[in-house]
């Protein structure tokens, strides 16, 4: 928790829920507080504070517990979940590629509302999809798709302390007939009222993690080994809980069978053993052979993989932030653990002066730390002390997290600023769009529509295009920064 993090949290809340929620969020970010304290420090009317808190709680962004006095409740912000909102586009994209558009809409609705009952989700999705479709068929489809989401554990029941673990993914009882009545404007108590569902972030993270690993392996080796890794991960889940540091052994024959059935990578099947060998013998140690039984079984070293990936991430950051010479020195210090500057100069083949400059620059930016060992006996010749450089990974990770927050904050501030500067133009464009859209719906076309559209002059269109590109770039960057944060988080989780 840092001041910079608080600033980003505020901006995220501001962009999504507006001023009041952001103010309330800021107060409970700083300190868990009771309702009256929040109202007092934000100077927002009590009613509004209550509303804001209920929004936060509904999105699982805040939680509350009984104060020590036993009367009031204390509200805390769930900072992690606030940051997860940056990752929503990735979740939606993941669902879209894994399932189809209808499932994507179901997930989107839940993400928008924070939590919903099964019936509500289906109702909302139906409202969005009902164009040109038979409604009763559609809701049946949606119900099935929702059920598949539940079985795949992408959504989870909002838990209460009394709920048992196996109930978390129990299918809800959704009565389609009643749903139809509601859809046609009737009022009816829905069969699953009170059973709320929310997104199971862990499950999404698991998918994102696997994707990250497979992509990394594909980059380093080739497509074939990437595919091998994918199947290995898939088979890992059969025997292993998803988040253990190193998996239970996976029999390699099983993987081979699956690959044979799929028959997508003929190279991989012909040279299967060799590919497994390459992956196992590689110095990065992604998998480890643990037994000879049934053609050998292998453990997947999750913790180790993320250790590797995080090191490489940091090396890349050093490389980009300074230059390739700096990353060379950084890697040397990493491989030697503790090393003297003279040795570094000799091994990295950089002029002594330059090497020293880089070393102390890295030290200044906290990528390296120095240990000085002083010799106590003064009579042994000139009193020499040893200067040893080394790396503290945890410290660097914290620093980089901080850098991520800072960059995020800057990017988001800039985006808001650009929007603010061109507010008039953007508003105008929006108005023109709504008018022309309305006209088209009414069946008007031709000159009148063109007349309205021409209200935006060519230079204005040019500016709008430029702003559009700029905002897109900023949003994309936001997602990329989140990627970095994700891999660091994964490392910290296994650590």
């Amino acid at each position: 928790m840092s001041a910079q993090q608080g600033l980003v949290v505020r901006l995220i809340l501001l962009e999504r829920f507006g001023d009041i929620v952001a103010n309330v969020g800021e107060i409970i970010f700083q300190n868990p507080n009771s309702l009256y304290h929040i109202a007092k420090s934000t100077k927002v009317p009590l009613g509004k504070v209550k509303e804001a808190l209920s929004i936060l709680i509904k999105h699982n962004l805040a939680s509350f517990k009984l104060n020590v006095d036993g009367i009031t409740a204390v509200y805390t912000l769930n900072i992690k979940n606030v940051f997860l909102m940056l990752r929503f586009p990735k979740f939606i994209n993941l669902i879209k590629t894994k399932f189809d558009e209808e499932v994507e809409i179901l997930v989107e609705e839940i993400l928008l509302k924070g939590c919903l009952t099964g019936s509500e989700v289906i109702l909302k999705a139906t409202a969005r999809l009902q164009e040109n479709k038979n409604i009763s068929v559609l809701i049946q489809q949606l119900k099935d798709k929702f059920a598949s989401l539940v079985t795949a554990k992408y959504v989870i029941k909002l838990s209460t302390p009394t709920m048992k673990e196996e109930d978390l993914f129990a299918l809800p009882n959704i009565d389609l007939k009643k749903l139809l009545i509601v859809l046609n404007g009737g009022s009816e108590t829905l069969s699953d009222a009170g059973v709320y569902w929310t997104i199971n972030f862990d499950r999404f993270h698991q998918d994102l993690r696997d994707q990250l690993i497979v992509n990394a392996v594909t980059n380093k080796f080739d497509e074939n080994i990437g595919e091998l890794m994918r199947i290995l991960l898939q088979q890992m889940y059969v025997r292993t809980a998803p988040w253990v540091p190193s998996s239970n052994p996976v029999p390699i024959l099983e993987v081979k069978e699956i690959l044979k059935k799929r028959n997508t990578h003929s190279q991989l099947i012909t040279h299967f053993e060799q590919y497994v060998n390459i992956l196992e013998q590689d110095s990065t140690g992604i998998i480890r052979k643990v037994g000879e039984a049934s053609g050998g079984s292998y453990q997947i070293e999750m913790k180790h993989i993320f250790n590797q990936l995080v090191w490489e991430t940091i090396e890349h950051i050093v490389n980009e932030k300074f230059d390739s010479k700096a990353s060379r020195i950084f890697r040397l210090v990493r491989s030697r653990h503790y090393i003297e500057p003279e040795q570094i100069q000799n091994l990295v083949m950089i002029p002594a002066k330059e090497a020293k400059r880089i070393l102390y620059q890295l030290l200044e930016e906290n990528f390296l730390v120095v240990n000085e060992l002083k010799r106590s006996a003064p009579n042994l010749g000139p009193n020499k002390s040893f200067t040893l450089f080394h790396i503290r990974l945890d410290q660097i990770i914290r620093n980089i997290m901080e850098l991520c927050y800072k960059s995020l904050y800057n990017i988001m501030t800039r985006r808001q600023h650009e929007k603010y500067l061109n507010k008039r133009l953007i508003d105008k464009k929006q108005r023109v769009d709504t008018i022309t859209h309305g006209m088209r719906v009414q069946g008007i076309s031709g000159d009148p529509v063109l007349d309205i559209e021409e209200m935006i002059t060519p230079p204005e269109t040019e500016i709008l295009n430029r702003i559009g590109k700029m905002l897109q770039k900023l949003s994309l960057t936001e997602l990329q920064i989140d990627d970095t944060m994700f891999s660091l988080e994964m490392y910290l989780m296994y650590d």
């Binding site: 390459i278 800057n410 501030t413």
Partner: protein, 304 residues
């Protein structure tokens, strides 16, 4: 003094000289006064002391002190380089420099060892230099430090820095070019291994190269004016490994094998923005001259 008396004394002196030399030759660790006394008891002490003094003066014997006992050591006159026309100071300084070998010795250390004062020592050194007995070599470790060594010696690589130094300047461009060429060679090897086909394991094994292979390639390229040794190439290859462009393993002969590799990841998202690599990000804030709203770096990046 009669003739025969002086004759016998001369004989005595010659005899004592021969015997002492023999004795000294037989004991390379040196002989003490007592050794001489017992070995050549027939020669009176005042005679052999004279001889010893003479031998010491001509440099055939050297005087050492070990645990309070004076020792004389024989010094091969054939090895002895004549420091013609020089005085005692020059001889001592010359000896000190000779002991330092091809690593050379710093002027301050000569001063400590010889107990000469600065002006005198400078004079001695200058005179030795003009007579081409010694030479001054600039060390790469510290640019202002001069070390002295015998004129006919080739300086040690720790003084000159080896192939990477020219006039004690590190040739970083040369090293960079070699680094690129080595990587190019490894990469080429990897690509040709993939083209050759065969199983993936064979591909991998074919892409390994030894240092000698790389050395041969670099020598044939002819980019180097100086002769590079295999060890030089080894250290260049290690920088390629440190750049995360290659990996190093050991084969069964204990030789290092190198292979070009690819990284796991692309540069992470945070350094693809300007803020991630901004040198003044620490000074950036909401207010003040450096702020995200008017940041020049961000603006130029957005307008790219």
């Amino acid at each position: 003094m009669s003739k025969s008396e002086s004759e016998s004394r001369e004989n005595n002196e010659i005899e004592s000289e021969n015997r002492i030399l023999e004795l000294a030759k037989s004991k390379p660790n040196g002989i003490s006064n007592n050794d001489i006394k017992t070995e050549i008891s027939n020669i009176p002490p005042e005679v052999w002391t004279k001889t010893v003094n003479k031998l010491l003066k001509t440099g055939v014997l050297e005087l050492f002190k070990d645990k309070g006992v004076l020792l004389y050591k024989y010094k091969d006159p054939s090895k002895k380089t004549e420091v013609k026309g020089s005085d005692n100071e020059e001889k001592i300084v010359y000896k000190i420099i000779e002991e330092a070998g091809n690593k050379g010795i710093w002027i301050r250390d000569i001063r400590f060892k010889s107990n000469l004062n600065m002006t005198q020592l400078n004079k001695v050194l200058k005179s030795l230099e003009t007579k081409k007995f010694i030479k001054a070599v600039k060390s790469v470790a510290a640019s202002k430090k001069k070390v002295y060594m015998l004129y006919n010696l080739e300086p040690d690589s720790s003084v000159t820095g080896g192939a990477w130094y020219q006039d004690q300047d590190f040739e970083s461009e040369f090293v960079d070019i070699l680094n690129q060429q080595c990587f190019r060679f490894l990469e080429g090897k990897r690509e040709s291994a993939i083209k050759l086909g065969g199983g993936p394991l064979m591909c991998r094994n074919r892409s390994y190269v030894t240092t000698t292979d790389v050395h041969k390639f670099i020598s044939e390229l002819g980019i180097s004016k100086v002769q590079l040794s295999v060890d030089d190439i080894e250290s260049i290859l290690y920088t390629v490994v440190l750049d995360n462009k290659a990996e190093r393993t050991v084969n069964s002969n204990g030789e290092y094998l190198y292979r070009a590799i690819k990284p796991f990841l692309d540069p992470p998202g945070v350094v693809r923005t300007t803020c991630g690599i901004c040198p003044i990000v620490d000074r950036c804030g909401d207010s003040g001259l450096i702020n995200p709203k008017s940041c020049k770096y961000l603006t130029s990046w957005l307008n790219d």
